[in-house]
Structure formats: structure tokens, C-alpha cells
């Protein structure tokens, strides 16, 4: 995996949604040839656009994508889902092929993290050595050597800061040399590895992709595909009673709110939040915001939000409270009853009943801002 925001990434992740659009070359009106090129390009791309939605398996309350091209496609076009054997991007097959079949290819983020951790361990050993030296010199009251040590320490600290930017090459990576017994089961032939990984989608992602018509989900009970409204109703029902503060409805509302504003929205579970927002996506930068959903009737104290704030602050994100004001029960019920399986607008009529207010929540340290 190339470093964050590299040109390779800029070339690769150019589509924020798994939806194809037609991109026409620049039109120069007075040049007839330009018209021909534009029309040709339009026709050519329209032909290619007839792509059928990706099939998503819905079983045991999870949404799974099984085939590798489709997994990669959903990741590359908006960073949807999570590789179930990977940190986020489904890279298990790449890593395993490299390990067992010694194939090449660019490094995955998991491999880079592993290498950086090794370098950090190395740094700690070096530091320990200097600490021991310092002790010796202090015992000797050797001010001269202590001063020299200080500059050595300085150099080491500088080296430490570089580790986060290290881009190791494949040869540098220490691969596990020994093959484990269970690895044999994975090897189908000299060039093929059994595919174990699938991509799991969050329920809110699945509904969003379904209404974009990028995926299709079969309903095992009826044998036909879910419509967006059917899936919406099903997921809401699974998340407790159908009330205005239904967990799934508010989660989807907030997910949709940020997703439709073009943010890359991922789960915020690792940061005690509901969602995290990337301006463009994980390969480009760290997430800027951590979203915590607050229901209007929810009563919590300052300690509760303070705890989340501390977690989010450590990873240098800004905590945003997204307040959801839900409609009265009678209004909500009316809208819920009006949901019609084949009318997507009835779902949006329901979502429109909610109000969203955003407050950014930051700890203020007076002694730091005084200047």
C-alpha cells in the first residue's frame, strides 16, 4: 500500500460511489473532431454502463459479499464494507498469497503496520541502551559524556518520528518462513489459494447501496429481491420497537445525512462513537470527525460525553454531537403506516420528519489558549 495521498491513490480512488457516471472529454465547440470524440465517448460509456447490481448475501443478520472483484469494487468505489479477515480493506488474499506462494505486489496496510511496529521495538531497545549509559555517566558525574548523550538521544528521537512515515519494501518485510499445518488446506495449487475472506457491510451501508441500485439482496423467505423500503422496514423492526427513536432509523438517518454530503462514513466503534468521517477516504487522510448521535430524550451527564471526548481527543479527531429531534409518535406512526414497498419516496417522507442539529464538542484548556 503506497503512503497516504500518493499519486497511486489519487489515480485509483476516483469514484466516491459504486455508481458509474459518464465522463466526457473536454468539448471544443469549434472543432468538429472534438464533437465526434465526445459523441463516441458518450456512446461507448453508455454501453459499458449496463452493469448489474452486485449480489449481497443476507444471512444471520449480516450482509456479505463473497466474490473478490465485487469486494474490491465496493471498497474502491467509496470504501464500503470491511474485509472480515483484514483491518478494513479486504487484503487477506494478497497477504496470504505473498506468504504462501511468495508472490509480489504492493504491500497491504497490515504489512506496513507490522513493519512499523518492529521498527518501534528496535527504537525502544536503542533507547534502553542510552538510558543505561546515562545511569553510568551520572554515577561518574561525567558531565561531558552526559552532554554528548543528550545529542545522541536527540538523534534517536528524530529517527523515531520518521517511523510513522516509513514505507518499507517487500524485501524488508520479514515473512513467516515456516508453513503451518493448517496452511496446507489453503493451497489449492501452486498459483491458487482458497478464498476465505468475505466483505461484510454494515446494515446502514447495505440499505444505502440498495437504494443506489448498486447491490441486490435476496429475501430468503420470498425468494425475490428486497426493495429498499422492505429492507428499511425489516432492519428497523429488528432493532427494537417501532418508535420515533428506533435505533436503526436514527443510525440510517445520520449515516445518510453525511454520506449524501459526500463524506466517507465508517463505523466509529473503535473511538466510542457512532461514525467517523473521512473527507475523502482512509487511504488519503485520518478521519477528521467522530460523530456521536444524541437522541432528544436521552439524559446523560457530563462524564459520559467527557469520556467519549477524551477517547476522540487522543486520536486527534473532533467530536461532533449530532442531535436527532424525532417527530411525535402519532406523526411518526402515520408515516410508518404509509410506507409502501415500491415507493422509495415514502421512506424519505418518514426521514424528513427528523431534525438534525450539530454541535462540535471540544475540551478547552485555558492555559493553552492564553498566548
Amino acid at each position: 500500500m503506497p503512503p497516504k495521498g500518493s499519486s497511486e491513490h489519487l489515480q485509483k480512488y476516483v469514484q466516491p460511489l459504486p455508481v458509474d457516471i459518464i465522463q466526457l472529454p473536454e468539448l471544443i465547440p469549434h472543432n468538429p473532431l472534438s464533437w465526434v470524440i465526445v459523441i463516441y465517448s458518450f456512446l461507448q460509456q453508455s454501453m459499458k454502463m449496463k452493469k448489474s447490481p452486485i449480489e449481497v448475501r443476507y444471512e444471520n443478520m449480516t450482509f456479505k459479499v463473497d466474490t473478490l472483484p465485487e469486494m474490491k469494487y465496493l471498497w474502491d468505489h467509496g470504501f464500503f464494507g470491511k474485509g472480515i479477515l483484514s483491518r478494513s480493506e479486504p487484503t487477506w488474499l494478497d497477504r496470504t498469497e505473498r506468504r504462501l506462494l511468495k508472490t509480489n505486489g504492493s504491500l497491504t496496510s497490515e504489512e506496513i503496520v507490522k513493519e512499523r511496529r518492529r521498527l518501534r521495538e528496535e527504537f525502544k531497545t536503542e533507547r534502553k541502551k542510552l538510558d543505561d549509559l546515562e545511569r553510568t555517566f551520572k554515577l561518574e558525574n561525567n558531565l561531558n559524556e552526559l552532554q554528548k548523550l543528550e545529542s545522541k538521544r536527540h538523534l534517536l528521537t528524530e529517527k523515531r518520528t520518521l517511523i510513522n512515515k516509513t514505507k518499507p519494501t517487500i524485501t524488508e518485510i520479514e515473512s513467516d518462513k515456516d508453513m503451518r499445518l493448517e496452511d496446507k488446506e489453503l493451497i489449492i495449487s501452486d498459483t491458487t489459494i482458497k478464498r476465505m475472506e468475505y466483505l461484510e457491510l454494515m446494515p446502514v451501508e447495505s440499505l444505502f447501496l440498495l437504494l443506489l441500485n448498486s447491490i441486490k439482496i435476496k429475501n430468503p423467505e420470498t425468494g425475490s429481491n428486497y426493495t429498499s423500503v422492505q429492507l428499511f422496514k425489516k432492519l428497523a423492526t429488528q432493532c427494537g420497537s417501532i418508535t420515533p427513536d428506533n435505533y436503526f432509523i436514527t443510525q440510517f438517518l445520520i449515516y445518510y445525512h453525511y454520506k449524501s454530503l459526500g463524506w466517507c462514513v465508517k463505523s466509529g466503534m473503535k473511538f466510542s462513537s457512532d461514525f467517523i468521517l473521512y473527507e475523502r477516504g482512509p487511504p488519503f487522510q485520518h478521519a477528521e470527525f467522530a460523530i456521536t448521535i444524541v437522541h432528544d430524550k436521552q439524559v446523560k451527564d457530563f462524564t459520559y460525553y467527557g469520556s467519549i471526548n477524551r477517547v476522540v481527543g487522543v486520536v486527534k479527531k473532533t467530536m461532533v454531537l449530532s442531535f436527532v429531534q424525532s417527530p411525535p409518535l402519532s406523526v411518526f406512526q402515520e408515516s410508518w403506516d404509509a410506507l409502501s414497498d415500491n415507493k422509495l419516496e415514502t421512506m424519505f417522507d418518514l426521514l424528513k420528519l427528523y431534525d438534525i442539529d450539530e454541535i462540535s464538542y471540544k475540551r478547552w484548556s485555558p492555559s493553552r489558549t492564553r498566548e
Partner: protein, 384 residues
């Protein structure tokens, strides 16, 4: 003596800091030695010799550090005012009326403390009295009727001042916040109450489109789409509300207590500029305010907007984080838990108003080799 902003450093850069006496050294008289070891990143751990005695290295450091502490402590404390000027440092406490005044006000602290009336009498708030007496700038005496010469009567003890001036636990919380911010070097004044206003904020502004734009969008949608931003705008419009009437007028139990300014030599208390921060004081055991309460506070708040650099096109992340336009005001909650104060800055932000985060220019990455417009993004699905 007004608080010296430089001196305020000693309050500590962080809650958990240990007093660093070397910082004080330049304020103490008679010491010129500055070769105090700087504090390192880790806690100090003495190196012991085999006989468990401290090394010479540490011993000399310890001694010089200790000397600095003594020097700092040697400087005069207690009442700062001289006996000659005692009259203009005496605050009279009228416990019946709950008023506090000074007859012949004089002193640097008056630049940001107290209110002088036409007769030249300076009136104080209770937290100002406690702050001035506690730090030794003033002494407190009881107001008497008729006024007699009390120059020989001893002043009230600090404990007595506390017991007369403080009426309830909220007062104590308020004083702690005031005194903490003052000692850190800020200018702090009571906020003037403003009437609650009715605000209607249109949110999710993307809902307002001209008819023409709507038609164009429909056309685009049915024929083909050439920009992702158009898709996003369409998705936004599906949950957008054209106008949202939101009345935040309500009796709120929260009020803005203090206006706070960063240290500023040109500060005039009669004509204060727009404050940098506004403080709401709450007890740690109170529930977190509701969104309506926060919004009505934000509606009446009036703080200096943060200057935000106009970033590249697209959303301005800093504006979302720190506010920075008229819409996104901010208010600071001082959460007091038995003497510990934690501050939270709450700023209104509006992601919808910032517009779409995705930029269509990202579809056409600039490459080093190719000329403008020549680089075509990858279209094909990657298959392995």
C-alpha cells in the same frame, strides 16, 4: 497589584504539572543563577550509588533547584498594599445589602475589576472581593452606619470574608471559575444579560432550488449523470427541508455568567470588545443540557469569531471544528466538580451548510507526466 500575565505561568501548563521553580526565578530578587536543569520528558528518578547514596550529579542539581524554590518563596507575600495606601485598598462589605465597595479606589487591578460610580466609589461583585482579598491586594472590613473612622480596627480574616460573601454552593463554584481564569491571566467580567431571541435557522439549505435548477437536475438524472457532486446533491435533496422553523425561546436554567478576554493591554472595562469566550457554569452532577438549551445559549452568545483561513475549495474543515462565521457561535461550559474545573467548548456547526465534501476534481488526478485534461481516470472495474 494586578495579575501579571507572565507570573500566571506558574499556575502550570497542565493540571498535573509539578511546580517548576526555575520559571519563577526571574521574578525573585537577588538570584541571577539560571543554570537550572530543564525538566525532561520523564519524571525525575534519582540515580543511587551502590551504598544507596544519591550521586553527586543529582545532589548538585537538587541543591540548585531547591535554592530556587527558597528564593521564590522568600519574596513578599500576604498584603501587597503598603500601610500608607491602606485606605485605597480597603473593601467595605455590606452584608445586609450584599454590596461591596471601596471609597478611594486605586490600583492596577481596577483596569478590569469593579465599577466606579459618579461619586468615585468603586463597587464590586462578590467573586471580585474574594479574589482581591485572597491574593492580598485588598483587605475587607465590615460596612458600618454611620460611618466612623475604623482605621485602627483589624481587617476581616479571609475565612470571615468567605463566610459573609458566599451565600450558596453555586456562588462558590462561580468564584472558583472566576479565580482560576483570573490567575491564568485572562480578563474576566460578568456577562451582561441579553434578552432571549427567537431564532429560525434554515438548515439543510440544499433544499432551496430554483425551478430551473430543479428541471435541469431531473434532466440530468434521467438522461445521464456526469458529475458525482450532482448525485450527492440529489441525494441530499431527498431528506432536505426547505425551511425549518425552530424556536429556541424558552426559559433555560443556563445562563452565560462570564465574558472572558485573552490578556490585552488596551482593554477598557467601560468599553469592552467582543469577548473571546463566554462561560456557563454548571455543576458536574447536573445532566447534560438538551439541544434546545444549548441552541438557545448559542443564540444569545456573542463571541469573537475565530479567524479561519479560507482553505482550498470544498468544505472548510476548520470552520466545522471551530466555527468562524456568524452562524456558528460558541459557548464554554465550565463543569465544576468539588473544586476541579473542566472546560468544554461547544460550537454550533452545520455540515449541510458547508456543502458536499466530495470534489469532482478528484476524478481527474493530476499526474506528473500527462498534460492537463489528458489523464483519463480509470474506468474499468479492476479484476484480478
Amino acid at each position: 497589584m494586578e495579575v501579571d500575565p507572565e507570573l500566571a505561568i506558574t499556575y502550570g501548563n497542565d493540571d498535573e504539572d509539578v511546580q517548576d521553580w526555575s520559571l519563577l526565578s526571574k521574578f525573585t530578587q537577588g538570584t541571577k543563577s539560571n543554570n537550572v536543569p530543564k525538566r525532561g520528558e520523564k519524571d525525575f528518578e534519582p540515580v543511587l550509588k551502590d551504598d544507596l547514596q544519591i550521586t553527586d550529579y543529582d545532589l548538585s542539581n537538587l541543591n540548585s533547584s531547591r535554592q530556587l524554590m527558597y528564593d521564590a518563596l522568600r519574596s513578599q507575600r500576604g498584603l501587597v498594599s503598603s500601610l500608607k495606601n491602606l485606605k485605597s485598598s480597603t473593601i467595605y462589605i455590606n452584608s445586609l445589602m450584599g454590596t461591596y465597595y471601596m471609597k478611594k479606589p486605586k490600583g492596577k487591578f481596577l483596569e478590569s475589576i469593579g465599577k466606579i460610580d459618579k461619586n468615585g466609589t468603586c463597587w464590586f461583585n462578590f467573586e471580585e472581593v474574594m479574589y482581591l482579598v485572597e491574593r492580598g491586594s485588598c483587605i475587607g472590613k465590615l460596612h458600618q452606619e454611620p460611618e466612623i473612622d475604623d482605621s485602627l480596627k483589624p481587617p476581616l480574616s479571609l475565612e470571615k470574608v468567605y463566610s459573609i460573601v458566599l451565600k450558596n454552593p453555586e456562588d462558590y463554584n462561580q468564584f472558583q471559575v472566576y479565580s482560576m481564569l483570573k490567575r491564568t491571566g485572562y480578563i474576566v467580567m460578568r456577562s451582561q444579560p441579553t434578552d432571549y431571541m427567537t431564532v429560525s435557522t434554515p438548515t439543510r439549505k440544499t433544499g432551496v432550488f430554483s425551478f430551473f435548477k430543479k428541471v435541469l437536475r431531473l434532466l440530468q438524472r434521467w438522461l445521464f449523470t456526469t458529475r458525482y457532486s450532482a448525485i450527492f446533491e440529489y441525494l441530499q435533496s431527498l431528506i432536505a427541508k426547505d425551511i425549518r422553523i425552530d424556536t429556541t425561546t424558552q426559559e433555560s436554567k443556563y445562563k452565560i455568567t462570564y465574558d472572558v478576554w485573552k490578556p490585552n493591554t488596551k482593554f477598557k472595562k467601560t468599553q469592552p470588545p467582543v469577548p473571546d469566550y463566554q462561560i456557563v457554569i454548571v455543576d458536574a452532577h447536573e445532566p447534560f443540557p438538551t439541544v434546545k438549551e444549548i441552541k438557545s445559549l448559542l443564540a444569545i452568545s456573542n463571541t469573537k469569531p475565530v479567524t479561519i483561513k479560507q482553505s482550498k475549495k470544498g468544505v472548510n474543515i476548520n470552520r466545522l471544528k471551530f466555527g468562524g462565521n456568524d452562524e456558528s457561535k460558541s459557548v464554554v461550559f465550565a463543569v465544576v466538580d468539588s473544586g476541579l474545573i473542566n472546560f468544554y467548548n461547544l460550537t454550533g456547526c452545520d455540515f449541510a451548510a458547508e456543502g458536499t465534501s466530495w470534489q469532482d476534481s478528484w476524478m481527474k488526478p493530476r499526474t506528473g507526466v500527462s498534460k492537463r485534461g489528458k489523464s483519463r481516470p480509470r474506468q474499468n472495474r479492476k479484476t484480478k
